[in-house]
């Protein structure tokens, strides 16, 4: 049954409300004036220039990128490993492994933040890429786990058996056959882990020090004192990276499949 005209008009209105805030932020970042006004006064990229030459923002940008990459790599390793155990182990109860791997998805960030804060500081892990990278890897690993697990159920076991029959050990089969087969799924999960780290604020607030702050943490500290075109510029940069990554994950696999089918 087709949706009625009223319903469709209402949906379009909400769709506009969905995108307007993001567009407003982008618009206020390209103003040539020195205040956030709407409509913006003239067009200039001066605020992007200012942000990208300011050492504070640049350091934060570097920190965010490093933390995101570390989180993605760790999440890919741990999530894939857990997915293997959940799907294949006859020793570990799958419900236990799955529960452990999915639990970080359910924890409120404030709660996770306190835990990381209490423990990581005690073991000398605070205010650096490693501590926040590990924390964000924990939060991102469910995405890797879920994707790899789904991919594993689609793996043709006969391919692995063929390797075993040909004399490969279990370890070699895992490295040369199974891992490459689930690698794309792990990569998708890794990108998701990167994005969730890239714009995460709460846990980053718990683990930040004046010397070590990520982009969202610096943005947070400035946002609390008001709105500025430079914050809009940073917000736009953060959003562009997130959207690019999302497009990579949402559209990428379909494109790859299409190209492969053609060749």
């Amino acid at each position: 049954m087709r949706a009625g005209l009223g319903v469709r008009l209402f949906a379009c209105l909400i769709a506009l409300l969905f995108v307007t805030p993001t567009l407003i932020v982008a618009a206020t970042s390209v103003t040539s004036g020195s205040m956030v006004t709407f409509p913006p006064k003239g067009f200039s990229l001066r605020w992007f220039q200012e942000v990208l030459t300011d050492p504070e923002w640049l350091t934060a940008l570097g920190n965010s990128a490093q933390v995101g990459l570390l989180a993605a790599v760790l999440a890919m390793a741990a999530g894939t490993s857990l997915a293997f155990a959940a799907a294949r182990s006859r020793f570990l109860p799958p419900a236990l492994v799955t529960g452990l791997a999915v639990l970080p998805m359910t924890v409120p960030l404030v709660v996770a933040g306190i835990g990381f804060y209490l423990v990581y500081i005690r073991v000398g892990l605070s205010g650096n890429v490693l501590s926040l990278g590990i924390a964000h890897a924990v939060l991102g690993l469910p995405f890797v786990f879920v994707n790899v697990l789904a991919a594993l159920t689609g793996v043709d076991r006969r391919v692995e058996e063929a390797a075993r029959v040909s004399g490969a050990t279990e370890a070699v089969t895992l490295l040369r056959i199974t891992l490459p087969l689930v690698a794309p799924a792990a990569l998708v999960g890794g990108v998701l882990a990167f994005v969730s780290s890239w714009d995460e604020v709460v846990v980053a607030l718990f683990l930040n020090t004046p010397q070590f702050r990520t982009l969202p943490v610096v943005m947070w500290s400035q946002v609390r004192s008001g709105v500025e075109p430079s914050i809009s510029a940073v917000a736009t940069l953060i959003t562009l990276v997130s959207l690019l990554m999302a497009a990579l994950v949402l559209v990428g696999p379909a494109v790859v499949k299409k190209v492969r089918r053609r060749t």
């Binding site: 049954m1 379009c12 294949r88 409120p108 209490l118 075993r164 279990e170 604020v201």
Partner: protein, 323 residues
């Protein structure tokens, strides 16, 4: 959409319980004939190769996540004492905070479902162009950072913001700014905007799964469109509403950033109260106790809802996006 629902209860191949040490390399790992695996191994499973492959992940998640969570529980009981919990339950300040939070989460959930339903319906029951437009708009919002979107609402709802400028300078309707920022109203606007996509995605997935023939049958039998909707479509879409509503509700319970920026000082929601205990009052024990209660509440709601719609469906809605 929800890869989580594909979580298998156990590997499908009924192979023998052969560890690396039991039998030749070729035999282990695939479905061999009966009697080949030792019976005692079947009764008492021993660590096998795949448990070893899972070990690094298990060690990581236990050390980096389970231990910190356990430390929060210990902290809540020992810093200074379990009285942290009685303080939460007896102090009127905390009680107020809990009531405010529950009320806020409930209102946000209801609003998300009421607004999200027609949106999801339009997405599920329209042509490709319309569906693509609605999906792109949804995704654009969904993947914009929570902090950025909260900041955007700050720009819009400020005393000198977009809405007030429009009302005063362009339309001439008001002379003094309408105070919207730092009120519960602003929090509701921001939170509904941020959480609405979860409700829409859950409802959309459910609506798409309804067999069109069922609705057609009702129509053929003479039911008018609204009756088809009320008696067929709506009941069949309820699991999606439950999944989306529960997810929105538990996410809303722990929000910190949005209420902190858009809300006033009068409403202190649980997420903010926890931060306050740690940052301002330097009482990590009380903060930890509140955190434990919050996590338990979230798990209880999820566990309860999982009995009706399945945990995979609820958590799968997130599509890899967390708040």
């Amino acid at each position: 959409m929800s890869a989580l629902s594909q979580i298998p209860s156990r590997a499908s191949s009924p192979g023998p319980q052969a560890g690396p040490e039991a039998g030749s390399a070729v035999r282990a790992g695939h479905g061999a004939g009966p009697g080949e695996g030792p019976a005692r191994a079947r009764r008492f499973p021993r660590p096998d190769f795949w448990s070893g492959a899972g070990l690094p992940g298990l060690v990581f998640v236990v050390a980096a996540f389970v231990v910190p969570m356990a430390v929060v529980v210990v902290k809540s009981l020992t810093d200074p004492s379990p009285a942290n919990y009685t303080a939460i339950f007896t102090s009127s300040v905390y009680q107020r905070s809990v009531v405010d939070t529950l009320q806020m989460a409930l209102v946000v959930t209801v609003l998300c479902l009421l607004i999200g339903y027609p949106y999801a319906y339009a997405m599920a029951r329209s042509g490709t162009a319309m569906r693509t437009f609605l999906m792109v708009a949804l995704m654009l919002a969904f993947w914009t950072s929570l902090l950025v979107r909260t900041y955007a609402w700050q720009i819009v709802l400020n005393d000198t913001g977009l809405v007030n400028t429009a009302l005063r300078d362009w339309l001439g309707l008001t002379s003094a700014p309408i105070h919207m920022i730092r009120t519960p109203f602003a929090v509701y606007v921001g939170m509904v905007h941020i959480l609405l996509p979860y409700a829409v995605l859950a409802l959309f997935a459910q609506l798409r799964s309804i067999d069109p023939d069922v609705e057609r049958a009702a129509q053929v039998m003479g039911a008018r469109p609204w009756r088809v909707f009320a008696r067929v479509t709506l009941p069949l879409s309820l699991p999606g509403a439950v999944a989306g509503g529960v997810l929105v509700f538990v996410l809303a319970l722990g929000f910190y950033i949005t209420p902190q920026l858009l809300g006033g000082a009068r409403q202190v929601y649980v997420g903010q109260a926890i931060m306050q205990q740690i940052e301002q009052f330097l009482k990590p024990g009380v903060g930890a106790a509140m955190a434990v209660l919050l996590f338990v509440a979230v798990l209880a709601v999820l566990g309860l809802a999982a009995r009706f719609v399945g945990l995979g469906r609820i958590l799968g809605v997130g599509m890899g996006r967390r708040r």
